[in-house]
Symmetry: C2
Subunit: 313 residues, 2 copies
């Protein structure tokens, strides 16, 4: 089971009434600084403040009325949990969210605020999976994985679809990579719509499992990664990895300093709030490890959820 451009186009129609069509911003100072022409796809302005709403919304609205009645479920403490809760709330169905009992209260409150029904468990992967499994059996809810799910991948691909509608003559698109949902959706949408477009991923040096997986030709799980880009800690999935192998030119790692500097620069000059995971994509341009000079580069800014009390500078 893979994802086609038709799946992404159908996802775009499906989520259109609920998701924002986010703007594409350009900034002269940034272009001068990085020596390329950057087109910023602002998923920080998306509902719940991240691209995750696209995939969750597509999954929720892909369900038949019968399936939907039992609700959806997932285990996540991040943006996906909020996105799934909101999408379910809009459709009027329950969203069961498994969260570790040590999750920060700000994340619990966010999921709660969108009407998600939280079940707490011990903070281990085994506990999260067994709790989710029990919930699924008890409620009949449909499991929506944060990235290893064709409906989610198709939903995430709609951002690149819009970006290419707005700026058809891009040479390159850069997206950050964690589990690979955004990257694989982006890669399918872009390479199917525009022959020869280059897809490049940004990944934190300190969480470079996707980079190593590409080198090894098999999924190498992340081993206790530590990076400020806390949206990119997860490893690639069995659905996302083959798509990335086939369609992504390369994965470029970005240092922690590069992430923080480019995040601050975008705040100061572009005047928008982006989270560290978004800055990883900017960081590819910022650190210039690969030559993208004078090219037209689409950059998918994954989101803007940051704790303003804990800034990295």
């Amino acid at each position: 089971m893979t994802v086609t451009i038709t799946d992404i186009q159908q996802a775009a129609q499906r989520i259109k009434p609920y998701a924002h069509r986010t703007p594409v911003l350009t900034n002269e100072s940034l272009n001068e600084k990085v020596g390329a022409e950057a087109f910023l796809k602002c998923e920080n302005f998306q509902k719940v403040g991240a691209f995750k709403f696209r995939g969750a919304c597509n999954a929720v609205y892909s369900l038949s009325a019968d399936e939907a009645a039992s609700g959806v479920c997932t285990h996540s403490s991040g943006n996906h949990a909020q996105a799934l809760a909101l999408a379910a709330k809009i459709r009027g169905i329950p969203a069961y969210i498994v969260m570790p009992n040590n999750a920060p209260s700000v994340k619990k409150n966010a999921v709660d605020g969108y009407g998600g029904l939280i079940t707490f468990c011990e903070p281990t992967l085994a506990a999260r999976e067994s709790t989710l499994d029990r919930l699924r059996l008890d409620t009949g809810a449909n499991v929506v994985h944060p990235y290893n799910d064709a409906r989610v991948i198709a939903g995430q691909g709609t951002a690149a679809l819009e970006l290419l509608e707005d700026v058809p003559n891009l040479d390159v698109i850069i997206a950050p990579v964690g589990g690979g949902g955004l990257l694989s959706g982006t890669a399918i949408a872009a390479t199917e719509l525009k022959k020869g477009i280059r897809i490049i991923a940004g990944e934190p040096e300190m969480a470079d499992d996707a980079f190593r997986s590409m080198m090894a030709g098999e999924i190498i799980p992340a081993k206790s990664p530590k990076t400020i880009a806390d949206g990119l800690l997860t490893s690639l999935g069995t659905l996302t990895f083959p798509i990335i192998q086939q369609r992504v030119e390369q994965i470029v790692t970005v240092s922690e300093a590069g992430i923080i500097e480019s995040m601050k620069y975008v705040w100061e000059r572009v005047k928008i709030i982006i989270e560290p995971s978004s800055a990883v994509a900017i960081g590819v341009l910022w650190e210039k490890k690969i030559d993208l000079s004078r090219l037209k580069v689409g950059v998918i800014l994954s989101g803007g959820n940051v704790d303003l009390e804990k800034l990295p500078w």
Copy 2:
């Protein structure tokens, strides 16, 4: 000498090739929070990060070729100095900027970066004015006051012109008030284009000279005001005050807490960087001292220049 809607429309044509047409953003969470429908005119995305570029650009391009050859001058250490320097640079003429010798280096660097020619003086108003006068006599440069200048007022009014083109059915427009250039330009543009539209100003409680001037019916200068909204420390001018008396419904004061809370809320939810002076306009909706519930309210976000190292939370 006053300013007409024709002056503003001509200013719009004059600055069009150089200034950004800034977007108007809306946000559901903010609307729920304040109980009104807010349309945010994003001058934080304007060149030099503030609406000031509009007025400075209109002044610079209003000059004849002969006049322009001698350049422009002003005394300012804020956004106006940067705006004038950039506008002059674009036209290829000199901008002489008088700055107090205790101005922060970040402000000196910004003016310098836009090619402004800085003359330092003692940090008193008398020294600033005499230094500017000497410069003017030595160079023949045209003085461009930050707000008490018809060309500047007309330029600032172009933001409201665009806002009403994008959202014609506004009930109210809120702008912050310092010297009154933005407010008076906004008031002329809006009340001439839309009969019955209400113009409301936001002013820091801790720098409420415009509020007191309106009450007294004469300009009451600010007395050592202290507010986080450091763009709003100046007093009204002889040109701006009569326009405001005639066209502005009322000036609403906003507490320091209200400024900081609404600034943080916009950062967190709208995902854009606004400076405290912009938050003063949001603060009018936030503090609900006057009833604007369920109205369509245009809010002019004056700028986004903040020091990310010194945030107020």
